[in-house]
């Protein structure tokens, strides 16, 4: 019974940890706007956590610069299982306008398995919420596989 309770609820309270890997701040602002009264992602249980230890979903923005890469990987590895990695905006997926620059190590998927990509520069809040709910579903599946 306890196991089922846990498995059922996992998708309902995904906590986010946001990593800025060299972003221009556009996506960061959009992510915060998701929590404002207009979109209010908290109704789905989303919450911004302060520490990766509390998080379920890691949201990475920015093109993953060479400086930030080890730090991003370290922070991601500190998130307890089950976890979900979401790239937000085009930068961590393709490098966007920064592609080919000497200081870019991205895309992120070269280094860690990414679960959800939310495209756009910056993505619309609706798209972000959609991507996050998808991530929450994947999270639930991962939790189910853990048993």
């Amino acid at each position: 019974m306890f196991k089922r309770l846990i498995a059922e609820r996992t998708g309902k309270s995904p906590w986010l940890f946001h990593i800025n890997a060299g972003s221009c701040n556009g996506c960061d602002i959009e992510l915060v706007s998701v929590l404002t009264p207009r979109y209010d992602a908290e109704r789905l249980g989303f919450k911004l956590a302060g520490s990766p230890r509390h998080a379920d979903i890691v949201v990475v923005t920015g093109p993953v610069t060479k400086q930030s890469l080890p730090r991003v990987l370290r922070a991601i590895s500190q998130v307890p299982e089950p976890r979900c990695i979401v790239t937000m905006g085009s930068c961590p997926q393709s490098g966007n306008v920064f592609r080919g620059s000497y200081s870019i190590a991205g895309p992120l998927s070269k280094y860690v398995p990414v679960d959800v990509d939310v495209a756009g520069c910056a993505p619309k809040p609706e798209a972000i919420i959609d991507g996050l709910t998808l991530a929450a579903k994947i999270l639930k599946e991962k939790r189910g596989r853990m048993n």
């Binding site: 306890f2 309770l5 846990i6 498995a7 059922e8 609820r9 996992t10 309902k12 309270s13 906590w15 009264p37 209010d40 908290e42 109704r43 789905l44 249980g45 911004l48 956590a49 302060g50 520490s51 230890r53 509390h54 379920d56 500190q78 307890p80 299982e81 089950p82 939790r143 853990m146």
Partner: protein, 323 residues
């Protein structure tokens, strides 16, 4: 035979009402109501009322990472001790006429027992070895110091008022305070107790560490401070402790100032207690939360030792001269 029945009865008190199960359900519900209310006040839809339960169960299902720098036993045990101490506090606080364990403790004991959960959290955080926890610990302790003076004044004022009325001079026993209110009506109807009640309302957010007095757990600046390294089930237990602490403090408020409203039927009383607690939560935690920003730690200290202490001191002075 009677011993067995007695033992079972007390076990029931500890495990079901007003102990563990009641604390769990009511505390989590209070927390959910709080979050919903804050959302409503900010014109949001807000999370479902059962959201704290979801959070708790999710956390139970997650991996628990013990950092290499942490002292393992303290790190793992302190959440459990903190929660147990909170449940025990709840056992001392009378539910109107009914007290599960009346002969064990009084208000000074409550004052000290309220330190135990905070202490458990502090030690757990300290044992994790994180520097964020170090900052959080420092702030948490200063918050405790800040709340201590007004809380002491409030409790002494209540002790003097009830003691003066029943003729023993002073009365520290919670069950006697409850009995007095059963007979003479709620203490809040006394003029001398009004400032004390106001002070207590202002104290509840500080004691529970909710907005705007949550400098110790500021998630945006010090990564939730003491909890920075906690994950999984221990974190869930801490979140539960936070919820139960809300219940404990609000029901302490009910026991001190709103006693005597009980119906005498335990089940009804429990529901009434919960409703009153929800009301107080709405007034003292949610309302303040919705429109304030986080205070700096030295501001918290200054605020409690001046404004709130003054309110409580006025109450004590009034009680001293028998109003």
């Amino acid at each position: 035979m009677t011993i067995v029945i007695d033992a079972l009865q007390y076990l029931g008190y500890v495990l079901i009402f007003p102990g563990f199960l009641f604390c769990f359900l009511a505390g989590m519900l209070l927390c959910g109501i709080d979050r919903k209310l804050v959302a409503k006040m900010q014109k949001r839809v807000g999370p479902p009322i059962l959201q704290p339960f979801y959070d708790f169960f999710k956390l139970c299902g997650k991996e628990t990472i013990i950092p290499a720098a942490a002292e393992r036993n303290t790190f793992m045990l302190s959440p459990l001790v903190g929660l147990a101490a909170l449940v025990v506090i709840q056992l001392f606080i009378p539910v109107f006429g009914f007290t599960a364990f009346s002969g064990i403790g009084d208000i000074i004991v409550i004052l000290y027992l309220l330190l135990v959960p905070a202490l458990a959290m502090i030690l757990g955080g300290a044992a994790s070895g994180s520097p964020y926890a170090g900052v959080g610990l420092s702030r948490e302790m200063v918050t405790i110091i800040s709340c201590e003076l007004p809380l002491v004044l409030v409790l002494l004022a209540v002790a003097k008022t009830v003691g003066g009325a029943i003729g023993t001079g002073l009365c520290f026993s919670l069950s006697q305070i409850a009995e007095y209110q059963e007979v003479n009506g709620s203490l809040i109807t006394k003029i001398s107790m009004l400032p004390a009640a106001a002070a207590m309302l202002l104290l509840i957010p500080g004691e529970t560490g909710s907005h705007p007095f949550d400098a110790a757990e500021a998630e945006t600046e010090i990564c939730e401070g003491l909890l920075a390294e906690y994950s999984g089930a221990p974190l869930g237990v801490f979140k539960l402790s936070h919820a139960v602490k809300m219940l404990s403090l609000t029901s302490l408020f009910v026991a001190l100032f709103l006693g005597g409203l009980g119906t005498g039927i335990l089940a009804l009383d429990a529901v009434l207690l919960f409703l009153l607690c929800a009301l107080i939560t709405a007034a003292s935690i949610s309302f303040v939360h919705a429109f304030t920003a986080r205070l700096k730690i030295e501001q918290i200290f200054k605020y409690y030792w001046t404004v709130v202490s003054l309110l409580a001191a006025v109450s004590l002075a009034l009680a001293w001269y028998g109003l």
